[in-house]
Structure formats: C-alpha cells, structure tokens
Amino acid sequence: MYKYILKRLLMMIPVLLGVTFIVFFIMALSPGDPAAMILGDQASAEALEMKREELGLNDPILIRYGNYIIDMLHGDLGVSYKNSLDVWEQVWERFPNTTILAIAGILVALVIGIPTGIISAKKQYTLIDNVAMIVSLIGVAMPNFWFGLLVVIIFSLHLGWLPSQGMGEGLVPLLQSLVLPALTLGTGSAAMITRMTRSSMLEVIRQDYISTARAKGLSERIITYRHMMRNAMIPIITAVGLQFGTLLGGAMLTETVFSWPGLGRLMVDSIKSKDIPLVLGSVIFLAIMFSVVNLIVDIIYAFVDPRIKSEYKKG
C-alpha cells in the first residue's frame, strides 16, 4: 500500500513537468511584452530593454524554462510582474478561500446528487425518475455562470436575502456570502453526481448478490445501504473526486461572477495582465491539488473495495 502511494507520488513529477512546460511555452510565446506591461506605455526603449534584461526575457526560451524549473525546485515561484509580491504567498493566501468554496460546493452536490440518484435508480422509469433525469440533464447542460447570474437576480436583487458579491468577514457574513456561489457550483456537480449515482446503482441492482441479499430476508433498507450503496460507490467516488479536484483549483467562472477572492479569480486576473509568474504559479498549484485529490480518491477505493486493495498490495 505504501509502495503504491510512493509510486503515485513519484508519478506526479512528470505530470507537473508536463504542465509547467506547456503553460510556460504558451505564456512565453503569446504576444505582448511583459516589460511594457510593467513599465507602462510611456517607458523609453532603454528602460524597456533594461527591464527585459532584468527579467531574463532576452535569454533563449529553453534556458528561461530551465531557470524557472531550477527556481521552482528551490521553492521559489518568482515574484509577480505586476506588484512584485511573492507568487507562492499570493497563491497560498487565496487557497483557503477557494477551499471553503470547494467544500461548500461539493457538499451541496453530494446532498442533492446522491439521494436523488438512489431514488431515481430504485424507481426507474417512474415519474420521479423521469423528472429527476430531465432536471439533472438541464443542470449538466446549463452554464454555471449563467445560473450564478440567475440566482443573483433572484436572491440578491429581487428578494435581497443574500449578498451578491465578495466574501464576508466573520462567521455569519461568511456563510451568507457563501450560499449563492456554493449553490451555483454545487448544482452543476450535483447534476453529474445524480446521473453517475443512478447509473451505478442500476448496474448494482441487477447483480446476483442483491438477489442473494433478498433471499436472506433482509429489509429493503439494509439491502440498499449495505449491499447496493457500497458496491455502487466506486464510480461515484471517482466523479466526486474529479469534481472536487476541479473546484479546488478554483472555479474561475463562479468566482468571477461572485467576486470571490479565490484562486480562480487570481488566475483570471493574472492571465489578463500577462503576469506570467503568477499564472504559472497558480496553474502548478492547481495541478498539484488535482493530482493529490486523485491520489486520495485512489486510496479511498482501497477502503471501499477489497479487490482493489489486493491489487495495490501486489504493487
């Protein structure tokens, strides 16, 4: 098991190298001069040239990439072009905000998605099932930012119940400001989790061991929770893990709509201002988060399914 985890951690290295490589080149090759962006339009040609030299922009691109990686391995992600603040500190500062939103969003998704999926599967082809499936199809198809704007119009503008922008200070204002973005994020994921839960449950419901459980005289409740749910869990955990990984990297659209000070907005802002170190820093952070969540998901598998555990033990 530990061997497996170690192996997975080592596998993250090439993933991160690939991610940095691609993002570095996209940013470096895209038009626009960072020096001009830092010094403004009025800067003289000499000043720009000096700035470029200072930032190392005149070196060949592979050398720049190499330097970046070496710095990164020393824990130095550089400083922002825009405000000269440490990139790592900026990313780290935003991370809790994004985490709060991601956890709230995934909770909303789980609370809606899993029960709906189970009921849908158990009442397949009934009215409840059809309604749930249509609603979740709409949920999957609906763009998040649009739904976000919609709830803002209803709950903030018309009803005036909840704030539409920013993140509140203190517990109650924080929770209040959290409701709408979490709902927005959660519904999209909920729709996906509903469909995943339903199809996974339907597969399990037809299994022979469910007949065996029935033949034992167990109650329908025990059959559903003890026998069906645990077996249906694996694909659901996968879906939830992927969703959560994405959310942890910052939900760009939702954070932008609600002016949530998270990683997603940091990334959008830094891309807009061509702040290469900051973009790279946040993307690397996102990639790490995504890989770590996936690893955790894989470890959870082992606890849900003993067959996977024996696979891991084999190494």
């Binding site: 007949s211 003890r226 645990r230």
Partner: protein, 321 residues
C-alpha cells in the same frame, strides 16, 4: 410424510416491451418434509421463475403472480405482508443461486455475509453470530479463520460452499437450489452435491432441486417434475419417470443423454426450439416438436392425468389408454 410446500395453479407473467411473457402457466407441485423434488427443464422453461415465485422474489414490474396459491407449512405465502415474508426468506425457505461467482457481495467478508442472515433471523449477539458463522463455514469444509476473507479470495467451488453455508445457516425447512452446480467443474459438482445431500439429511431439510441434468436428479431426488414452457408435463417418483417414461418430451430428454451401456452412434436431440414465451402455441405447448403429434394436440390443452400411483402425465396418448 407431512406436506411442507404446496404450489397450486401458479401463473406468473412478465409484461415486457416485446409482449406478455407467459413464463409459468398453472404449475402445481408439492414437497413433503425431508423430501427432494427435482425440477427439470431446458433454459427458459420457467424453472427459475417458479423458484423466485415461491420466494416472492419476482421483480414487479415487469413480473406478476397472476393466479395460484403457495402454501408453506399451512401458511399462504401470497397473502403475507412484506415484513412477514422477510422472516420466511432465509429463515424458513432458503435459496441457492446458479452462479457462485456473482452471488456473493464482493465488498463484504464472507463471515459478515453469513452473520447477516443469522442475525436477521435469530436474536443473538454479534459475537455469537460470528461464532455460528464460523461453525457454518466448518460445516461446509472451510476453515473458520477464512471468515475474514473476501469472496475474490475464494475459488468458485468454495464460493458455492459459502453460499450453501448462508442458505443453511438458519436451519431452513426448505432449500431451493437453482442449478447449484451448473457453473462448476464436474469434479466440484459432485463434491457440492454430495455436501448438500449430507447437510440436508443431517438437518432434515426438504429441497427443490432445479437442474437440467437428469443424472443429478437420479442421484439426489425422490420425485421429479418435468417442466416445459411453463407447464409441468410429467410428474412422479424417480422409478415412474425414469423407468416408465410417458411424455414425449421426457422421452426426448432421455434420448439426448449419452449412454455408456447402449451402443448408439448419434444422440437424439429434441427437434426444434422452445416456443417463444410471448407467443405460445395453442393446444399442447409441445406439439410443435412432438413426433407423435395428432390433430387434437393442436386444439386442446391436454390435462395432467394420473396414470397410476401419482404418476402424472400431460399427453393425449395417455388419455386414450
């Protein structure tokens, strides 16, 4: 011998997109205490539907018990509520399913799966249940230390033993074994059957043994029912059915078994296929494949008639005699 199970005129239909599947059309049978009844028929004849019908495990929809009565120990099973039926299942009537590879829950230890049924039907502590589960494993020839293992750590034959342990854990009076050995190797088949028989005798359990293997019937059963297209076509004790075969379908079944004693070059299969259960032929359901077919067979459904000492046959040729 006291009658334990009595099924009377059971009709089970499935409503599917392709039409009404007439899976079971008026089946009657009875099993005495300690007795074994073999139910023989080809795939799709309604064997499993009958077994699941007795357990009231027919999924509804699409399945529905249309008519008939099932009495277990004098109790009308079809009149019981869901909760009462749960007490019957596993406690009084147990079922062994066909495929041991898929009949155990892959994410629970076998010990837990045995314990579960024990705890459901006996008011005992977890510890005692665990103890009992271990004893059941020993009874089917598996060391009790393996109770903490998962199904994927067992071979097919051992899984079937675990399933037998689950089925017998609460001393049921009736065991329904739905092709318990079909998915196993021949050598393991013999072992498993021998074990079922030994335990059945020890616990004085009655059994409904569903199979398509007449050899298995000859070795294990007291009575035989031959089922075709949802109807019993011949019924009697082993002697009657095996030595005094009357129905052309039963005859056909015997004709398709290779024999070491007789010098036969080719086996004689029953010509044709089972009729489509959504579109059963009128009259005798077997007339499309029968080599003795007469005009009357195509019009009237022959009744099941007693040709002596409880040997029942559904064929017009017996009517005339």
């Amino acid at each position: 011998m006291k009658e334990l199970l009595k099924v009377k005129d059971l009709v089970i239909h499935y409503q599917t997109d392709d039409g009404l599947v007439e899976a079971l059309n008026g089946v009657s049978l009875s099993i005495g205490e300690g007795e074994t009844l073999g139910l023989v028929g080809e795939t799709g004849a309604g064997k499993t539907t009958l077994a699941k019908g007795i357990m009231r495990l027919i999924p509804n929809p699409p399945g529905k018990i249309k008519e008939g009565e099932i009495f277990y120990d004098g109790k009308d099973l079809l009149a019981l509520g869901d909760i009462e039926m749960q007490d019957i299942r596993g406690g009084h009537i147990s079922m062994i399913f066909q495929d041991p590879m898929t009949s155990l829950n892959p994410v629970m230890t076998v010990g837990d799966q045995i314990m579960e049924v024990i705890q459901k039907h006996n008011n005992i502590s977890k510890q005692e249940a665990y103890q009992k589960a271990g004893e059941m494993l020993e009874l089917v020839g598996i060391v009790k230390e393996r109770a903490n293992d998962y199904p994927h750590q067992f071979s097919g034959g051992m899984k079937q033993r675990v399933i037998i342990a689950i089925a017998l854990a609460c001393n049921p009076k009736l065991l329904i074994a739905d092709e318990p050995t079909t998915a196993l190797d021949v050598t393991i088949q013999a072992q498993v059957l021998e074990m079922i028989n030994r335990l059945k005798k020890k616990l004085n359990t009655s059994m409904l043994l569903i199979t398509h293997d007449l050899g298995v019937v000859a070795q294990n059963c007291d009575h035989v029912a031959i089922i075709y297209a949802g109807e019993i076509v011949e019924y009697g004790d082993l002697q009657q059915v095996f030595k005094n075969t009357q129905h052309p379908y039963t005859e056909g079944l015997f004709g398709s078994i290779p024999s070491l004693a007789a010098n036969v070059k080719r086996l004689q299969p029953v010509e044709g296929l089972m009729p489509d259960p959504t579109d059963l032929p009128e009259g005798c359901k077997f007339h499309t494949r029968c080599k003795y077919v007469q005009d009357i067979c195509k019009k009237n459904v022959p009744p099941l008639i007693d040709i002596g000492e409880g040997h029942l046959v559904r064929c017009v040729r017996c009517q005339k005699q």
